[in-house]
Amino acid sequence: MNYNICTHIKDLLPDFIRDKVSSEYSLRVRSHLDTCTDCNDEFLILQKIQVATPIPPVDLAAKIKISVANDRRQTYWSPTWQFSFAAAVIIALGTTFIWQRTQNFPDTNQLIQESVLISWPMDDVVGGIPMFKDLSEDELITLLEELDG
């Protein structure tokens, strides 16, 4: 057993069992497995792990499709959203009107934008995963708790 070669082979075994290495590399791995009991044992375990992947319930894909379709419809067109949007615009316009009467400060467009942004539902921020990637597990859990309210 050559420690460096074995370490390198073991790093690559997952790609090898998925047939994701070049044919030249594949030959090298095969010839190493023929002569190295330790790497070959690991190869056999990896094959077993790959085969042991759990099978999802038969109706899961269909259920997911229905849930996602309903959610996408609701997210963009639900009466709640339309009401929130309309309410935000009315509040913004009303606020602007009062503001204009008390101060000479007529930046209507900005006010509308700010009001709409503030009233926009924030639930889906949870799904913006790339921002989680640098967090530790504890920080992540804290963040999720905060998002859940």
Partner: protein, 185 residues
């Protein structure tokens, strides 16, 4: 309406763009392609099939809800798995089972022959492997699954589990080492 084939000639990236434009057929193809790996990760973290199915649904809902913010810095699958793992952790927290159940899993594997009931539980090699996997610490378990089942690189795994590349690699090799101890005759 189906203007493109459902086979793998259409890349995820193309389907994502179509989904971002409101194409529900593209959404369905993405679900068909990835629901099994999503379910597998949910089950690995939560340990209950029904809850794992619920978590899978929620993961897809959150992913498609925030699809506009997917910028393609990683593959769609990596991004989806990151959401899945966070969602599964949220499920665990909600049902009050955040503590690792390491000892239970290990005990069943280490001494399977003495208890006839255990023999019934571990019915097949696949069951035996899954039991052994459930006995690994969470980061090791995820690193092993993401590397072997999903073929992700250590760099991709590090982004998902929130660690360095080196740490993902160490977790993977430690996990495999432990599995070999548990599974070798």
């Amino acid at each position: 309406m189906d203007e493109y084939p459902r086979d793998e000639t259409v890349l995820d990236e193309e389907l994502v763009k179509r989904a971002q434009d409101g194409d529900n057929i593209a959404v369905n193809i993405l679900v068909d392609r990835h629901h099994a790996v999503v379910f597998s990760k949910c089950l690995a973290i939560i340990g209950d099939e029904d809850l794992a199915a619920d978590a899978s649904q929620e993961s897809f809902i959150k992913a498609f809800r925030s699809l506009d913010r997917f910028r393609g810095d990683s593959s769609f699958k990596t991004w989806l798995l990151a959401i899945t793992i966070n969602e599964s952790r949220g499920f665990l927290r909600k049902i009050g089972r955040l503590k690792e159940q390491v000892l239970e899993g290990v005990r069943e594997i280490v001494d399977p022959g003495n208890d006839p009931m255990t023999e019934v539980v571990i019915r097949s090699e696949a069951d035996r492997i899954r039991k052994a996997m459930s006995g690994l610490p969470k980061k090791q378990r995820l690193s092993v699954m993401l590397r072997i089942e999903d073929g992700l690189s250590f760099k991709e795994i590090s982004k998902i589990i929130g660690s360095s590349d080196v740490s993902a690699r160490v977790n993977y090799h430690n996990g495999i080492h432990r599995l070999r101890e548990l599974l070798e005759p």
